[in-house]
Every structure is written in structure tokens, then in C-alpha cells.
Symmetry: none
Subunit: 292 residues, 2 copies
């Protein structure tokens, strides 16, 4: 199932009555929805158009048309792409031979990258790249698995001379967040979007006047709601226990896009720094001569 539909299914229980009715209608025949206007859909569900718009915002779409386009892209995925096991996530069970695991893992990771790409909102990416390029200082927040992603981004950013930090320690995150100010950027990464430490840090950064960006798995989450720009990677089905594997790869995929976007935008500034950083590492090593 596609991330959007999956998210609907998953969050259905948390929705209000009318919203649930809408969710059910969408799940019943997603293919129809994409060719409908908001009014038509509202009538069919016996609800108001306003509710539909609100519903779309809950799921972080810009509005109903945006929802339609993204949904259309995803359902298209679903019934195509059978060349690598389809884009559905495979659960990995006990006692499977390694060859099965390899296949399943490949299917998962491929699906996760594809799904993430189709969820991406170019406009938001642009904004994010913009903020990051301009930022006086960038704070990266993430715990556990997400701290890996944060550190990865950190390594990239310092190579192009962006003033940034990535603390794995939650106290340091807060401390750093408190000292941000306008023109700074706080970037929070979380698989669930509910990691308290990360939420706290982002809130703190927001209060300090920094721009806030989140990268979470798709679906409504606290972190996404309270951040200025919310970016998403694809989420996995419930049954899949270790969803953070694919998620982490999907998040790195987004990070790579952001970073490349930055470099591409400010080629002249960044590339020399990047080259220099590579050169310095090599040079230093040669000088040292492998001893020590």
C-alpha cells in the first residue's frame, strides 16, 4: 500500500467522525478521488468542503489539489513497478535464508526511496534549501537512529562552511537551541515525529526565533505540525517492525537532495570549499606519512 493510503488507514482511528467518513471514502476507491472536485467529494461523503480542506492540512498537504496530485502519483506506483517485487514493503521474518532477506531488503529500500520521492514537495524543498543557504547558524536535532542522519548532514554542511552543530545529547540540543536567534535554522529529524527530546529542542529553537524545519516519516506528527516547514520520508506498514531501517535510508535520500540543492544553488561559493576540504584531508594524511 502507498504511504498516503497507509497513513489514512493508520490514523483513521484518531480522526473525527466526518473525517473518518472521508478517509473511508478515499480508501474505498482512491483512483476515483483524483478525478473529483472537492465539492463532488464533499457531497458524496455528506460533509462540507471545508472539512476536506482541513483534512488535507492535517496530513500536511497544501490543500485538496495538492493531495490529489500526490495521491495520483502514488496509486500509479502501486499498480506498476513489478520488476523488483512491487513497491510494497516486505516483512522480514525469522529463519529466512539470507537470499530472501537480501531480496526483501532491496524491495524495501527501493520502495522507500521511491515513495519518499513522490511525497516530496519541491516548493518546500526550495524553501528549505533557501533557509539553509542563508542561515547564520544551523542546529540539527535527532536522537538514536535519527542522530545518525543528523550527523551525516552535519558532516556535509561543515564541508561547505555552514556553521552548524549536531548534538546527540538532549541537554546540549536544548542549550544550543536556546542560543539561536532570527536568521538561524533548526532542523529536527525523527522517525516517529514524536520524540520528546527532539520536539523540545525544536520548540525551544522556535521560541528563540529560529526558522524550524522537520524531517519525519509521513503522517501527522507533533514535530511536523509545529515546524515551519515539514518534510517527509515514507513510512512503513505497521507489521514491519524495524521501519527505521528503510526510513533512515529515505531520510538520507532527502538530506542528499537538500545538500545537493544547496551546492547547486551556490556553486561558486560551496564547490571550492568542498574541494578544499577533500584536498586538506588527503594532504594532511600524506604529511603524516602513515606513521603514528
Amino acid at each position: 500500500m502507498t504511504p498516503i493510503l497507509h497513513a489514512l488507514e493508520h490514523e483513521k482511528s484518531k480522526l473525527s467522525q466526518m473525517e473518518r467518513r472521508l478517509a473511508e471514502r478515499i480508501l474505498a476507491s482512491p483512483g476515483e478521488i483524483v478525478h473529483m472536485g472537492i465539492t463532488e467529494l464533499a457531497e458524496q461523503c455528506g460533509i462540507s468542503a471545508a472539512t476536506i480542506t482541513r483534512f488535507c492540512k492535517v496530513f500536511h498537504f497544501k490543500g485538496f489539489p495538492d493531495f490529489k496530485v500526490k495521491l495520483a502519483a502514488e496509486i500509479a506506483h502501486g499498480d506498476a513497478a513489478p520488476q523488483d517485487g512491487g513497491s510494497s514493503y516486505q516483512d522480514i521474518m525469522a529463519g529466512n535464508p539470507l537470499s530472501v532477506i537480501v531480496e526483501a531488503m532491496q524491495a524495501n529500500h527501493l520502495a522507500s526511496i521511491r515513495d519518499t520521492t513522490s511525497l516530496l514537495d519541491i516548493g518546500r524543498l526550495e524553501q528549505t534549501v533557501d533557509l539553509l543557504c542563508r542561515a547564520r547558524r544551523v542546529d540539527l536535532y535527532g536522537m538514536a537512529t535519527s542522530s545518525i542522519v543528523a550527523q551525516d548532514f552535519y558532516q556535509k554542511l561543515i564541508r561547505i562552511g555552514v556553521n552548524c552543530t549536531a548534538f546527540a545529547d538532549s541537554h546540549m540540543q536544548i542549550t544550543s537551541a536556546s542560543s539561536l536567534s532570527e536568521g538561524d535554522v533548526a532542523f529536527a529529524i525523527s522517525y516517529s515525529g514524536e520524540t520528546p527530546e527532539t520536539i523540545d529542542a525544536l520548540l525551544c529553537a522556535k521560541n528563540s526565533g529560529a526558522s524550524t524545519i522537520s524531517l519525519t516519516s509521513y503522517g501527522s506528527s507533533s514535530l511536523a505540525s509545529l515546524s515551519g516547514i515539514s518534510l517527509f520520508s515514507s513510512s512503513l506498514e505497521k507489521g514491519m517492525r524495524r521501519g527505521d531501517m528503510a526510513s533512515r535510508i529515505a531520510q538520507l535520500h532527502v538530506i542528499d537532495i537538500l545538500f545537493t540543492g544547496m551546492v547547486s544553488r551556490r556553486f561558486g561559493d560551496y564547490i571550492p570549499k568542498l574541494e578544499q576540504s577533500y584536498r586538506n584531508v588527503r594532504q594532511f594524511r600524506h604529511k603524516r606519512g602513515g606513521t603514528e
Copy 2:
């Protein structure tokens, strides 16, 4: 090419000037179009919105929104699509619009995962899983980008109670390697396979009697040659400057396979520990209650 885009390409010559300009804009980056309003697109092409609507009708769509939804569905089909085996890596250039970067990045990452999977040697993977499951102690070595991968593996391994370390500091790596002995495993990760610090650490581990495993980009490298088991991720074409992006994702892909292989093999031992580790994190958080 998708039917819609193909049709545009084909009929382009028969269209009028302004319509051709529009068709070209759409063909240039179809992915962007679906997220645009008619007005925005009109401006970008220097034509009027009316022309766009007319254009859509020529191609038998109900209107522009209808066109967008259909196009979105179609490019979703096509965007992955290197099932022809031609999994070629795209170079990412300066000044590219983000939509192009997104597509290129997706192509790269998908290709890199596919290629890596096909390079994998199941036998070696089995051996590796075996060694890791039995190991008294596991050392993970990796510098810079590869240290991210090492830390990721570290986080996974400690969750299932494997006694392991992942130092980013090269002195600590050596120190730790020196204290290994038979029955221990040293796992070295490096994109180039030539990182001196990592090579030193692995050599040291080998001298101490530990089993040695390397994970590098495909090709002959010092690290691969001197390790007991050498695993490979896909290597990129020369032209691609920042190959470490895709490489890192490919390496994580391998790590995921190894880890899942371990869990799958010793399901009874590992799963309870894994569950416990998740539970503890949650529980601890609740106790704390979000204060502090």
C-alpha cells in the same frame, strides 16, 4: 517515455508557437508541472493561462487540473524505470533546478542499491553473519562518512546485546584493535578502501588475532585485500564527484542485510532484547514525563 509526454513530443511540431513553448516547458521537467498552478506555468512560459487551458483541451483533457493529475500518475510510473538494466548514475550539475536534482538523486540511489544487491555474495554474507553472531566482541572502524555507517551498525548491534564499539577517533580505534583476540571481529568500513586510519586499525586487529571483515566500494582496494572477508557496495562512475552519497546508502543497505540476517538466525535470542530495548526507551521517557 509515458504516453502523455510521448504525445507531446510527437505532436509538438504541429502545435502553434506558444503551444510549442508550453509543450517544451512541460517536457523539460514534467515533475515540476504537476505542482504548479496554471498562472505560474503561464508566467514561466510567457504565455497566457487561456492558452494553457486550450492546450489541454487539444489533448483531450477536461482542463488543466485534469491534465496535472493524469500527468502525475504517468510520471510516477516512469520515474524509476531503469528495468532495462541500464542503471546508470546521473551526474548532478550546478544550477540544476531542484526537480532535476530530485530525479537524478532518486535514479542514483535506486541504481546504487540495485547494483550493490547484485554484487553481494551470499556465501560471504553468511560467513559474516556467522562471525558476528559468534563474536565475543565486535569492533567497527570507519572515518568521516564511513563513521556514520559504523555508528549506525553500532546502534543496531548494541540493541541485540552484541558487545561492540565504534570509535570515530583513530587513536581509540587502534587502541581497541590492539586489545582484540581470537573470536573477536573487526569490521572496517571505507568508501575508497584506502583510508589509512581504517587500514591501520584493521591491520592491528588482524595481528591481534581477530577475524577481519571489510565493506568497501567495489574494486580492488588495500582494505579489501587484507581483510578475511571482503564485502562490497557498488562503486560509481568516475565522473560522479560525490560518490560517497550513494555509497553510504548502499553500505547501509548491506548493514541492514547483515543485521537482519543476524536477527533472523538467532531470533529467539535477539528479538526479546530488541523489544526490550524499544520498551525501555519508551518507559524511561514516560517516567521522566517530559519535564526537566
